[in-house]
Symmetry: C2
């Protein structure tokens, strides 16, 4: 039976516990960051980026605003504040027949938000 | 009868002719840019931003990649290149019962793409 991808993702965000990613992320998954064009390939790297994103983005102000659903994909719009800087973004998520995430792409606005987030993410990725 | 918002938008992009915006954009519409947090309010400003975006983004490489549809909203993912710089973004569009656009939000990645686009957009907005 296919995983309920979005339900598992939302639960992980709510619990601030990314432990489910080991079964939720496909071996050949790629992460596409707001910062650089090159895809980050492979399950291990995708989990590393999602863990870093969780540590940086998921604070008490973080919330999902709206969702759009495709057949094996979704767009989740989110909003949060860090040190008074308002950040607005989207997760573009694709998954396979088994419900495992194959691509996770993040875009954010405005520039000030990106300039706040990117060094914080980098600090978790070194 | 409500306007077919997305069909009219796609035709405008295809024709590189934003003339339809006068009937497609609601009086109380807002534009949310990738650059700054503050919404740009009102039909005239929204049309000004969309015209600038059309001039900067719609070149021969511009294409829509994927779409997600809501009830009165959609997310359109696009990709293009400018001077060899790859740019990937989303239009998040909301419309009213009449099919007129009430909110048009744009997010883009990666940073290098944003740093390419923002000064080009600014040059069309002064």
């Amino acid at each position: 039976m296919a995983l309920d991808t979005l339900a598992l993702w939302h639960q992980a965000v709510k619990d601030r516990d990314m432990g489910v990613l080991d079964r939720l992320v496909a071996d050949d998954a790629v992460f596409l960051s707001p910062a650089v064009h090159s895809p980050q390939p492979g399950k291990a790297l995708v989990i590393k980026y999602l863990n870093a994103a969780q540590k940086v983005l998921i604070n008490d102000s973080f919330h999902y605003v709206e969702e759009w659903h495709g057949d094996h994909s979704a767009v989740l719009e989110f909003a949060l504040e860090i040190d008074g800087i308002k950040i607005n973004g989207v997760d573009l998520i694709h998954w396979n027949e088994a419900g495992q995430i194959t691509q996770f792409k993040v875009m954010m606005r405005p520039m000030k938000g990106l300039n706040t987030i990117i060094p914080l993410m980098a600090a978790h990725l070194v």
